[in-house]
């Protein structure tokens, strides 16, 4: 019995020692916690992986949780960086004076329909009418005789805020089913007859019909010149007094190396390629 107790005791001590050593070494290096937008998460995860390979001391944790979580966590100062799909000023309850915006990528968003609707082009007005519930059959907008099923994104999701700002013109969307990710929407629209929703460009597959608006095609080139209106920045928010390692990582994400390779590979549009800028009130310059 005593021997077992002794064994347990020594094992515990050993574990404590090891833990002590590892926490000590971590304290010497920089440790970043990044939380927020799931749309930006894949890019930041990849960038963090590359960054840690070239900077052995850095340790970066990237988590999802949604844009709202990212913004409220950075406002409290409990994380190093808060990722968001929307401007902090578009969200109520965030004190924008406390935080600093870094735009790191652009995402284009396109309406998608199930191919059986027979629609490939809509006017902005028609799109709005569909999402407000004024139009309920595809026949009314030049498609086949099928009922329209609207699939929306969760209230407060970054993609939805962007879509509504560019399309809805202040009107409230019809009550409909909501899904919480691009991936689910993609799957649903491709399998549900007569359905319409919207996804980020990188989620458009052969089973979905991306819809042109006023005969403008949803392409990266059209986003860069703002001919395609539905797009948003991906933001990385820091506190006013961000530490050196935080700034260094954001510089890395903004650098040509990441912007030219990773950003494009993962389906975002590089911030350096944009020929226009947009502010929180959707004013384009």
């Amino acid at each position: 019995m005593k021997r077992i107790i002794g064994l347990v005791f020594s094992l515990t001590m050993a574990a404590l020692l090891i833990a002590g050593c590892s926490s000590k070494s971590a304290a010497q290096s920089s440790k970043l916690t990044i939380v927020g937008s799931t749309a930006l998460q894949p890019l930041i995860e990849q960038a963090a992986k590359q960054y840690q390979e070239s900077n052995s001391g850095a340790s970066i944790t990237v988590q999802g949780g949604g844009s709202g979580t990212g913004l409220s966590q950075i406002q409290n100062g409990s994380v190093s960086i808060g990722n968001s799909d929307v401007f902090a000023s578009q969200v109520s309850g965030i004190n924008t004076k406390k935080i600093v915006d870094h735009k790191v990528a652009v995402v284009g968003i396109t309406p998608v329909v199930n191919p059986d609707t027979g629609v490939t082009n809509l006017s902005m007005q028609q799109l709005q009418d569909i999402f407000t519930g004024k139009v309920t059959n595809w026949q009314e907008v030049g498609g086949k005789d099928r009922a329209i099923t609207v699939i929306n994104r969760a209230k407060g999701s970054g993609t939805r805020i962007t879509f509504e700002q560019s399309v809805m013109n202040g009107q409230t969307a019809i009550k409909s089913q909501e899904q919480d990710s691009n991936g689910t929407v993609q799957k649903l629209v491709s399998t549900t007859s007569g359905s319409i929703s919207y996804v980020a460009f990188s989620y458009v597959t052969a089973k979905l019909q991306a819809v042109s608006i006023d005969n403008v095609k949803p392409t990266d080139a059209n986003v860069k010149t703002n001919q395609w209106k539905i797009w948003a920045y991906e933001h990385m928010y820091t506190t006013k007094k961000a530490d050196v390692s935080t700034k260094k990582f954001i510089k890395y994400v903004e650098s040509a190396k990441v912007q030219k390779t990773l950003v494009k590979k993962l389906g975002y549009i590089s911030i350096q390629d944009m020929k226009v800028t947009k502010d929180a009130a959707n004013q384009v310059k």
Partner: protein
């Protein structure tokens, strides 16, 4: 002499062990009590702040049907109706199956068969809810779509998924209830000339009724609180369900959908906490129900 007196007056080793044991258990109880109280306090303050700080009426919250917290519309009735809808429907489908399986396990099956079923049921309990949700999304929803049209999302899909999830809970508790029926009841009934079916129907099931009801309520509590699997198949439309295959939203699905997109301290966030408070109260109601059934339903 003094030595013996000393030893007798001082607490012995066993007494000290006794005290130490009691200390440890009191500490644990205290810790858990603090934990429970702080959770209750936390959810209550957050959940009630919408009514105190934002001037929302409780009746509006409970009986209105417009849910759009961003615009100060927080009618939670659609979620309440849907939550009860999926829960009752799932329990309704699951109970006959559960009783049948439990009867087979306790009254008919040879030992080996019963043990095999036991393993199957334990396996069902152990499957994480996300897997039930995925299967629901890949199999149940498309099946509903083919059979009833529309998107396939809705109360029926949710109830089917929950049926599989609560079946093991209800079954294993029913088995316990049936096993608790004293064997002399069975012997007496058979000795009076009753058939096996008559014995089961008139004696065993009657004696086990409170236990079976408890099992059903536990199953319903599980169904009511299930979030992930339901969220994946319910469609998440915060509106009153028109029928069993129109998309709707439960209290839990609304919580998991919204919590990442809201900011702490704002109305949309507080509204979600109010939903959480409602869930907590319902859990309490289910518990009280179980206690009442156990007390009132005893055979006389």
């Amino acid at each position: 002499m003094d030595e013996i007196k000393d030893r007798l007056l001082k607490p012995s080793k066993a007494t000290k062990q006794d005290q130490r044991g009691r200390m440890i258990s009191y500490l644990s109880i205290g810790l858990i009590a603090i934990l429970v109280i702080s959770i209750l306090y936390f959810i209550a303050t957050r959940g009630l702040s919408m009514f105190f700080n934002d001037g929302i009426k409780v009746s509006d919250f409970l009986f209105k049907t417009d849910w759009n917290p961003g615009k100060k519309l927080v009618g939670a009735l659609p979620m309440i109706v849907t939550s009860f809808g999926v829960t009752l429907l799932a329990a309704l489908i699951a109970t006959p199956f559960a009783i049948a399986v439990a009867l087979f396990m306790t009254e008919f099956a040879p030992k080996r068969g019963a043990r095999f079923l036991q393993v199957v049921i334990e396996l069902l309990v152990g499957i994480p809810s996300v897997i039930y949700g995925l299967i629901g999304l890949a199999v149940v929803v498309p099946a509903m779509r083919i059979m009833y049209g529309g998107t396939g999302f809705g109360i029926l899909a949710g109830a089917v998924v929950l049926f599989v999830m609560v079946l093991p809970t209800i079954t294993s508790l029913t088995v316990d209830a049936l096993k608790a029926v004293p064997s002399h009841y069975r012997q007496a009934s058979l000795a009076l000339g009753a058939t096996r079916w008559q014995t089961i129907y008139k004696v065993i099931l009657r004696a086990a009724t409170p236990g079976i009801l408890t099992a059903v309520v536990f199953g319903m509590a599980r169904a009511f609180g299930e979030a992930l699997a339901v969220q994946m198949v319910i469609g998440n439309a915060a509106m009153l369900p028109h029928n069993l295959v129109s998309p709707s939203a439960t209290l839990t699905s609304q919580l998991t959908m919204g919590i990442g997109n809201t900011i702490m301290g704002t109305l949309p966030n507080n509204a979600l906490w109010s939903l959480a408070l409602l869930l907590l109260i319902m859990a309490l109601v289910f518990n009280i129900l179980v206690k009442l059934i156990a007390r009132k339903g005893r055979i006389k």
